[in-house]
Amino acid sequence: MKWICKRLLIIPNALFIAFLLIQLLPNKAYRIADNPIYTVALALFLEIVLLAVSFLIKKDRLRHIFTDVLGIIFAFLIFWVLATIKLDLPGNAKQAVFPPPGAVLEKFTLDFGQTLTNIKDSLALIFQGYLIAAAIAIPFGLFLGWNMRIGAAAGYIAKFLSSISPLIYIPYAIVLLPTFRAASVFVIVMASFWPILASTMSGVLNVEKRIIDSAKTLCVGRFTMLFRIILPASLPQIFIGCNQGLSVSFILLVSAEMIGARSGLGYFVNNYANFGNYTTALAGVITIGIVVTVITFLFNLLQRFLLRWKQ
């Protein structure tokens, strides 16, 4: 009994109830665009997930992560509903710019098929660019870091180049590359290349001397030294750059898809925002957020697996 109470009397549940109560408040202004059914349905769905999680996940740490995230989502929904339809805030006159959650969720649901295509196209673009960048930056960084142990200089150069926004390259990419698609990929490549290169080089420079000596006394060949010793030894650092590169890639997705793309999340957001349809644009932004979260989660799993030899 006490155990059940402990699992039920948590702030996220309180927030859910608060959310339902807030629905009962009258709408302040006449809001034709909102469709509260969608908001309530989402909240109900999340509450079911919350209850399932509270009772099914045994490990405290993992359960708390889920319940905390859901609590934050409830809090955000409450804020959103209050700010857009229940209170008279100055911005509310411009409903087009501050659409209520129901409207956004409705768009999200109705456009779901299109959204899936967008996700697919955007991920294809990002992965293509990102993998090209990593496939060049990591070996190149290993080579530079290892061969110019004075690599500090190369490090500064990489810092300098990485401070240039990849947006600058867009006109050049369009002029020099055969297709618009290639130019979009190029933007993503440039976004992730420098952070990965810089972190790889600093990783190599920080490999402990005893590891290098140990490998040297085993008489390893050049290739083995680079890819079986230096690469894994600098992997923790390399991952820092890979994480950064991934974030920057997603930030630049909108810009990359401005170049001649006809689908994709960035194109979608940009397109609707340009036409003043903020409800749909916001649905797109939320989709990007969800995609980034899922990708980050998977990326962390990969990182945990590849670095399982670290304490």
Binding site: R210, I211, D213, S214, A215, K216, T217, L218, C219, V220, T224, R228, I229, P232, A233, L235, R308, W309, K310, Q311
Partner: protein
């Protein structure tokens, strides 16, 4: 011909204060199959000496020879166990050993390497730990795995730098006995030539055929001692003999002598 020959070796480091002389005019030789220990107080240049033999440090003058040929770099005729744990942290224990093996015996298949790893892990008492990563092992276990790696490579020369430095006293004498057992082998195969660095006098006496004592920095040869105890040696029996006590006293006196290191060693102890 001696297996290892060192002639008028000087070794220097360059740091921000300029040149630092770590080894000064060191000459000695090691016979094939001989087990020698190099002892001296902390910072006297023992690791530097081994670095030269490993081929990762270049002497500033003088020469080091193996089988009469000057050392120009690391070689697959030598295996090393380092003072600080030297397993590769991203490889499991078995992988570490198989990796070392692969570098010296290119023609072995992967399963042959794993089989050899299994045999040597068994010898050092690490059966069942094949799939652990180094961070999951204690310091002593890591050092045993490093020894297994060095032995599995089956090189003629074994260079060991205070391999038991970080291991507790009880485990330490077990490890010493284990090392001797493995070195003596079945009596059939040729014995390896071992250069063993330590700053523990008892360890040096127990293990070696000969002890080379270095002075304080810059390291020079202070004295050489032959150690004649019959093998196989067992701690409990050797320790009681008068010969042991005599030799130990001689070494102690020299070790704590003004020239060789009394002051410095005591300062270090504080």
């Amino acid at each position: 011909m001696s297996k290892i020959e060192i002639k008028n070796l000087h070794a220097e480091y360059t740091d921000k204060n300029g040149l630092f002389l770590a080894l000064k005019d060191v000459s000695f030789s090691v016979k094939e199959g001989e087990f020698i220990s190099v002892i001296g107080s902390s910072g006297c240049g023992k690791s530097t000496l081994l670095g030269v033999l490993q081929g990762i440090l270049t002497p500033s003058s003088g020469n080091a020879f193996i089988d009469g040929r000057p050392i120009t770099g690391p070689g697959t005729d030598r295996a090393a166990v380092f003072q600080h744990y030297s397993l590769f942290p991203w490889m499991t224990v078995r992988k570490n050993i198989a990796f070392g093996l692969k570098q010296v015996k290119k023609n072995l298949t992967r399963s042959e390497r794993y089989a050899a790893a299994h045999v040597f892990l068994k010898k050092v008492g690490l059966t069942g730990f094949e799939h652990k990563y180094p961070f999951q092992l204690s310091g002593g276990m890591q050092q045993r795995a490093a020894i297994a790696r060095a032995l599995a490579m089956d090189t003629n020369i074994l260079l060991m730098d205070e391999p038991f430095g970080a291991i507790g006293a009880k485990n330490r004498s077990n490890m010493q006995e284990l090392l001797l057992t493995l070195w003596e082998g079945d009596g059939q195969s040729r014995k390896k030539t071992v250069v063993f660095v330590t700053h523990d006098i008892d360890e040096a006496i127990f293990l070696s055929d000969r002890i080379i004592m270095l002075t304080n920095s810059p390291g020079q040869i202070a004295a050489e001692f032959d150690v004649h105890f019959p093998r196989p040696r067992i701690h409990s029996t050797i320790r009681k003999t008068g010969e042991y006590i005599n030799l130990r006293n001689k070494l102690m006196t020299l070790f704590y002598d003004e020239n060789t290191g009394a002051a410095a060693e005591e300062e270090y102890a504080i």
